[in-house]
Every structure is written in structure tokens, then in C-alpha cells.
């Protein structure tokens, strides 16, 4: 089944649903299929993702949204502690912002 088309005005709810699906796929490799995922969920403490899992997520985001959503550049602008504290909500905001910027540009 193809994923739904990217809406012209990306809504945070739709992006959260996309990212939740990607995270489920990553977590499934660890046999984890019941951790709750919401805007305040942290990648490190709540989901126990390792940095190499975020590389996988970066590939999924690029596949879904194209090169305008660049997780490597987004995280490279943060310091180590910020990355440790990173939440799903902050990534959703970044994706929504990137998609809107791409449309405006």
C-alpha cells in the first residue's frame, strides 16, 4: 500500500502519525510493539533508541518527504545534551517547518 500523499499544508497530526509509523518499524526490530509514542516522548530515555537507529529514521524521513527534511543537518545543529533530550514533538515541528519552508521557497 502506498502512503498517503503529502498534504499541501502539512498538519502536525499527520506528521506525528507518519513519524509514529516509522518509529514502530524501528522499534519492531527490538521486539518492542507497545511503547506509547506521543509529542512528549523522548527518543533516548522513553524509546531507548540508539544513535544508529536515528540514522535509520533519517533515511525513512528522506524517503517519505524528500531531501528537504534532513535529520542529519537538524541534529548537527544541536549539542549533545539537546540530542539526548530530543522529543518526538520537536521532530514533528521541524518536519512541519521544513515542508512549509520548502513550499514558501
Amino acid at each position: 500500500m502506498n502512503p498517503p500523499a503529502i498534504p499541501t499544508q502539512p498538519a502536525p497530526d499527520a506528521v506525528l502519525a507518519d513519524i509514529t509509523g516509522m518509529l514502530r518499524e524501528v522499534l519492531a526490530e527490538y521486539g518492542d510493539d507497545d511503547t506509547a509514542i506521543g509529542m512528549s516522548t523522548t527518543f533516548n530515555r522513553d524509546l531507548e533508541l540508539e544513535s544508529i537507529d536515528l540514522v535509520t529514521l533519517a533515511g525513512m524521513l528522506e524517503e517519505r518527504y524528500g531531501g528537504r527534511v534532513n535529520l542529519a543537518e537538524f541534529l548537527a545543529g544541536m549539542d549533545f545534551e539537546e540530542i539526548i533530550e530530543l522529543t518526538v514533538g520537536r521532530l514533528v515541528e521541524y518536519v512541519v517547518w521544513s515542508l512549509r519552508s520548502a513550499q514558501a521557497g
Binding site: 540508539e50 544513535s51 544508529i52 540514522v55 533519517a58 535529520l71 548537527a76 549533545f80
Partner: protein, 267 residues
């Protein structure tokens, strides 16, 4: 995710193309460190800046690490150099490359420069040193502690690390314990063939050493200056062994300075 067959072992490779899609101003190959490390230490730190500077960026997970295949045996330095050689051949990267290695990754990068000097344009050793008898003894001690204290007594060790170093370090340590238990890495690395002083002195390309000011490895700078024909170093105060992920802006900037000084074509 790209899995590449590098001479009988499947390695996880990530590439970042030079910004703007133009002809790259060279290829930079980034080699990560032991046990808790993976290509992610570059992917989310210096790699985007290297691509933005016009370089073709190649990152890969060492055997046993990250998303690469984990065979039970075959973890000497020679295996790692073989993997890097086969990987670059497989990717069609034939011109001289800019090699960057963090910790043990620098030891691999140096070993590649010993074996294929004509293929290396510059070499950056981040918190790293060439394989010598002293290096093998030190790694032997570290890996012996990992195997005896962590892998064989994991529950107590992880409880201590969680209490004293935090949750994140404890999770990294669990991964290290698993790698040490499931493979011959702990035995193989200290048993690796090391370089002679003549082999080390024959690495004539520009070599940059980057060290944390609070790391023991910074003490080796005078030795490297004496034994290598073209060596310069940068010591970043206030940092220890994790200087790459703690100070990526400074580390990446010094690597680009080294590359630009030699090539003059990088934007």
C-alpha cells in the same frame, strides 16, 4: 540503508553527496571507534558540514558494529583494514581520499595509509594513534576489563554504571558487553599485527592529530611529531576522549583546514 558486500562481509554504508550536486572536491572517508561507536557519531556531527563544503562523504559501520554484519570471529586490525580496502574498491573510490578516524577508527585509517599510501591524501587521527606494541598492550588491558568486568558480570556492572554514569552510558555499555560476549573482538584486537617504526615513518601524507586536553592521548603529541614526517596537532581544552561528539564544530573545522591546505579546491 545501504548494505555493501565488502569482500565477503556485509557492511552498512551511508553517503552524503556534496551540496549543490556539483563535482566533489574530494572524498572524505570517516571511520568510527570500538564497541559503543557507530557511523552515527559522524552522521549527526561533522558529516553534514563536510558535504556542505563540497566533499563526497563516505561513512560505514565497522564489522560487528552498528548495522553491519557481526561474524563471531575475525576482529584483528588486519580484518578492519581489509574491510576498508574492499569497501572503497567496491564503491569505486580509487583516487586518494581524506581519511578521518576516531579512536580505534584512526588506528584503522593509519593502517590503511601504511598499506596503501598512494590512496591517502590526508589523514586525521581524532583521539587516536598508530598500532604499536604499546598500543596493543593498552587495548589488551581495556578489552580485558570489558570482558571480565562487563561481559561476564553484566548485571552488577550495568547497575554500577547506571548509578554513577547515567542511563545513556549504561545502555551503551550493554551494547559493548553484547559485542564482547558474542565475538572474538576482545581477544583479536590485542593480538593484531602492529606496525614497525619504519612503517609508521613511511606514512608521508599530511597527518593531523586532534586531542582532548584532558585525554592521556594528548601526551603522545611529541612522539608523533618525532616519528611522522608531516604531523601537526590540535589540542582542544576541556575535552576528553569524546571530543568528536562534544566539539564537532571545532573538529570538523580543523579537518577542513587540513584538506583545503592540500587541495585548494574545496569550497
Amino acid at each position: 540503508m545501504a548494505m555493501v558486500d565488502a569482500g565477503g562481509i556485509r557492511l552498512h554504508v551511508q553517503r552524503m553527496a556534496p551540496a549543490g550536486g556539483g563535482t566533489p572536491g574530494g572524498t572524505v572517508v570517516l571511520v568510527h571507534g570500538l564497541l559503543t561507536d557507530s557511523l552515527a557519531s559522524y552522521y549527526f556531527t561533522v558529516a553534514p558540514a563536510f558535504a556542505a563544503a563540497g566533499l563526497d562523504v563516505v561513512m560505514y559501520d565497522l564489522r560487528g558494529h552498528g548495522r553491519s554484519e557481526r561474524p563471531p570471529l575475525g576482529y584483528t586490525l588486519e580484518h578492519n583494514i581489509d574491510d576498508l580496502t574492499a569497501l572503497l574498491d567496491r564503491l569505486g573510490v580509487t583516487g586518494p581520499v581524506h581519511l578521518v578516524g576516531n579512536s580505534y577508527g584512526g588506528t584503522i585509517a593509519f593502517g590503511y595509509a601504511v598499506r596503501r599510501p598512494e590512496r591517502v591524501a590526508t589523514l586525521t587521527l581524532v583521539e587516536s594513534e598508530p598500532a604499536t606494541p604499546a598500543w596493543a598492550r593498552k587495548l589488551g588491558g581495556i578489552l580485558h576489563r570489558v570482558v571480565t568486568q562487563l561481559a561476564c558480570n553484566e548485571r552488577d556492572a550495568i547497575a554500577w554504571i547506571t548509578a554513577h554514569r547515567g542511563h545513556n552510558t549504561a545502555r551503551l555499555a550493554k551494547g559493548a558487553a553484547r559485542l564482547a560476549r558474542e565475538t572474538s573482538l576482545g581477544r583479536d584486537i590485542p593480538a593484531s599485527r602492529v606496525h614497525t617504526e619504519a612503517e609508521i615513518a613511511a606514512v608521508r601524507c599530511p597527518v593531523l592529530g586532534i586531542y582532548g586536553g584532558d585525554s592521556d592521548l594528548a601526551d603522545l603529541v611529541p612522539l608523533h611529531e618525532a616519528r611522522l614526517p608531516d604531523f601537526r596537532s590540535v589540542v582542544l581544552p576541556g575535552h576528553e576522549h569524546s571530543v568528536l561528539v562534544e566539539a564537532p564544530g571545532a573538529v570538523g573545522g580543523h579537518v577542513l583546514d587540513l584538506i583545503r591546505a592540500g587541495a585548494g579546491v574545496v569550497r
